[in-house]
């Protein structure tokens, strides 16, 4: 049938964010060794404890092997051929946005993230990260009135070293995995959020990550701490220019929720995915984990993954506190030669802990899209409950979808439910919409949005429409 060919054609949409910003960049020489780590630490004026943290991680990393269990095949990264620190040349200690290079502001504006006072988003505070450094954080003062700290991780290291020392590496230990160890050794920047006791963060917080240099690995680090009875909603967006080489992105995100605290972490990932033949694109090898340390705490991950050549990540929840709740809502859209292996881990430790997983995978072209998840219930987690739902939609006949649900229960008084389904875009549904005057393209994107609606409903409002548009964009194109 020609129908499926046309569907394939319309999911192939040129990447809109592939431009490069011409800006003078300060880079350290390629390669990784102890001196490079010391150099990064010196450049960032870091305290001794952090240098030690980095060196310990490096030592561990040297002993570790790059994992190969996922079944993802990719040309191996030459870790000595990467640049570990790149920053646009400018006065490092910029005091206000006026001092930021206009080219950078322009770049973010082109990406739909205006930072200047007049244009910035009205109810979202943004931390903009360009290659290895944070360019600007908006609404800092307003947030400070509420005691909320929102800044780059570099700034947090110098301004709030006690918090960093207390929490960094406690959720994702330095030797957790190969990429997390590498990140712990060389991370350059990222975002830091601290919500004090009893405070409901008055606005959405958001970080926007932009990779600009082709040969630079991006290793950002995010740490969010929600004190007792506080709450925050955090958004993360990512884009990169088009290069025909693969760029490594190995981030670490750690979340800590104390008693009654709640953290909602949403991601729209749109890194460059490589061309139709699979040349170039970002390797998105990320470790994201949250710990519900306190009683009745809650961590909710939602993600819309549309970019990257390879995505390999499992935002997870460690449900330590009794009655704590973990959630994972995911949409992963892959096309052409993209591969995604993504899912979550829900580790139930406390009593009456609850988790919910809703995953929607859409694969088009020759892409591979896998859900891989673990639900683990420890002997003490009496009354633990999990519900998982994993749905896959295939577009065309060359794409594949897999579901790997792992369940480990050591507690008989627990309840685990798992549902899974796979479907194709149905010709009858398409014809129905078309026969009401709706374009073929729009019909496809309506069906895909409908398929994803359970997850869209979990995204913050402004973000949901943005994510819907992003999916539509990916699905848009000329009808053949």
């Amino acid at each position: 049938m020609t129908q499926s060919n046309t569907v394939e054609e319309i999911v192939s949409q040129p990447y809109k964010y592939g431009f490069i910003t011409e800006i003078e960049t300060e880079k350290i020489p390629k390669g990784l060794n102890e001196d490079v780590i010391r150099l990064i630490s010196t450049k960032k004026n870091e305290p001794e404890f952090l240098l030690k943290f980095r060196l310990r991680a490096y030592e561990q990393w040297l002993k570790m092997k790059e994992p190969d269990w996922s079944g993802l095949t990719y040309s191996k990264v030459d870790y000595q051929d990467l640049v570990y620190f790149a920053a646009p040349k400018q006065d490092i200690k910029k005091k206000s946005l006026d001092e930021v290079d206009p080219k950078l502001l322009e770049t973010f504006e082109k990406l739909g993230i205006p930072l200047s006072e007049q244009k910035r988003l009205s109810n979202v505070a943004v931390d903009a990260v360009f290659d290895s450094v944070s360019i600007a954080t908006t609404y800092k003062e307003k947030l400070a009135e509420h005691g909320v700290i929102f800044c780059s991780i570099s700034e947090a290291i110098s301004e709030y070293p006690d918090l960093i020392e207390k929490y960094m590496g406690t959720v994702v230990p330095i030797n957790d995995n190969f990429f997390a160890a590498l990140n712990s050794a060389v991370f350059s920047d990222g975002s830091f959020v601290y919500i004090p006791k009893g405070v409901e963060c008055p606005m959405e917080l958001s970080s926007y990550f932009r990779i600009n240099s082709g040969d630079t690995g991006q290793f950002e680090r995010t740490l969010i701490i929600a004190e007792e009875s506080s709450s925050v909603s955090y958004l993360e967006g990512c884009t990169a220019p088009m290069f025909d080489t693969n760029t490594l992105h190995a981030a670490v995100v750690e979340l800590v929720a104390l008693d009654n605290a709640s953290i909602k972490y949403s991601t729209v990932q749109n890194w460059y995915a490589g061309n139709e033949e699979g040349v170039g694109g970002i390797y998105n090898f990320v470790t994201k984990r949250g710990e519900c340390r306190g009683k009745k705490s809650k961590i909710s991950w939602s993600q819309v993954e549309t970019g990257s050549a390879i995505t390999w990540k499992y935002p997870s929840c460690v449900l330590q506190g009794d009655n704590s709740i973990g959630e994972f809502y995911s949409i992963a859209l892959t096309n052409n030669c993209q591969k995604a292996d993504t899912g979550t881990k829900m580790i139930h430790i406390g009593k009456n802990t609850k988790s919910k997983i809703v995953s929607k995978g859409i694969s088009a072209g020759q892409s591979k899209n896998s859900y891989r998840g673990l639900v683990s219930i420890s002997p003490n987690a009496e009354g633990a409950r999990n519900y998982s739902q994993c749905d896959s939609m295939l577009i065309g006949d060359k794409a594949s979808a897999n579901t790997y649900p792992y369940i480990q229960s050591k507690q008989p008084q627990s309840n685990i439910e798992h549902e899974a389904s796979t479907c194709r875009i149905s010709e009858d549904q398409l014809f129905y919409l078309q026969s009401r005057g709706i374009d073929f393209e729009e019909s496809v994107s309506m069906l895909v949005s409908g398929f994803c609606s359970d997850v869209f409903n979990e995204l913050p409002m402004e973000f949901a429409s943005e994510a819907d548009k992003l999916l539509a964009l990916k699905l848009e194109g000329s009808v053949g």
Binding site: M1, T2, E427, Q429, Y432, I438, E442, G450, F451, S453
Partner: protein, 263 residues
């Protein structure tokens, strides 16, 4: 009867169509003019539903030969959405469920695509809500159906009413209603039939595909066609439908056989 000066809306000539290399329509001829109501009856598998899908442009069917003209223009090259926009409406026998897509939003997008063709302004959410609430009365539907996903969890009768609601919003020039009466109880049948009657305009036309005379008691057809084996084998007025109801399709078979013998 209809005056001979009224304009032809749909003209089908010697239409042959196949699906998966199997020919289903073996030369259909049909002319529908403004203001007319046609009924097409026939056994299961006689090609009635195929004819309706071919007119609407379903991609699974291949036209082998013959033509379909809408207002004098060949439509065989048009996509289904283009046919819908110029005023061809197909009411489905089995409307599909579309999970996650809001009925209200679907109806709005569909309505706006037709309005664009008619050079009318597009309606925003609020303007559309006013319009749709008004049209809901025609099919006596509860506004709660707008908030649900398209046809999801609707009963058979609710799905059919939703089809007539779409017809009311799109204001088509020709409506082909494929077994809209099947699966309806007496009350729902009356509501649907009165909806169809209210929506018929002097410059539009309707084709009712049905098995049963009972719909034709509510909507009086100008012509009744009997389809068998991919062709229209007999055309008459509403008396033909009554005869058919009385004697069953065997009566047609007998008639045709006699005719063939006479030849």
């Amino acid at each position: 009867m209809i005056s001979s000066t009224s304009e032809t809306i749909l003209s089908i000539e010697n239409l042959h169509a196949s699906v998966e290399d199997q020919e289903i329509l073996h030369g259909v001829n049909l002319v529908v003019k403004e203001g007319e109501i046609h009924a097409i009856m026939g056994r299961n598998g006689s090609g009635k539903s195929t004819l309706s899908k071919v007119i609407a442009g379903h991609p699974s069917y291949k036209i082998e030969s013959g033509s379909i003209q809408f207002k004098g223009k060949n439509i065989l090259e048009l996509e289904p959405e283009e046919r819908a926009r110029i005023g061809i409406f197909l009411g489905f026998q089995y409307p599909v469920e579309i999970p996650g897509v809001s009925n209200l939003e679907f109806l709005r997008v569909a309505t706006n695509s037709r309005r664009k063709e008619l050079l009318k302004s597009e309606l925003d959410t609020f303007q559309f809500e006013d319009l749709v609430k008004d049209r809901l009365k025609i099919v006596e539907m509860n506004p709660a159906f707008l908030e649900r996903s398209v046809n999801e969890g609707f009963s058979g009768g609710e799905k059919k009413r939703n089809e007539i609601l779409q017809m009311a919003l799109l204001e088509p020039i020709i409506s082909i209603l494929d077994e809209t009466d099947s699966g309806l109880d007496i009350d729902a049948l009356r509501i649907v039939a009165s909806g169809i009657n209210r929506l018929s305009q002097p410059n539009s036309a309707t084709i009712l595909i049905t098995h049963y005379q009972r719909l034709l008691n509510e909507i009086t057809p100008d012509f009744v066609h009997i389809m068998a084996d991919g062709k229209i084998i007999k055309t008459g007025n509403k008396e033909l439908a009554i005869d058919l109801e009385k004697s069953g399709y065997d009566f047609i078979d007998k008639n045709t056989k006699e005719k063939e013998r006479a030849k």
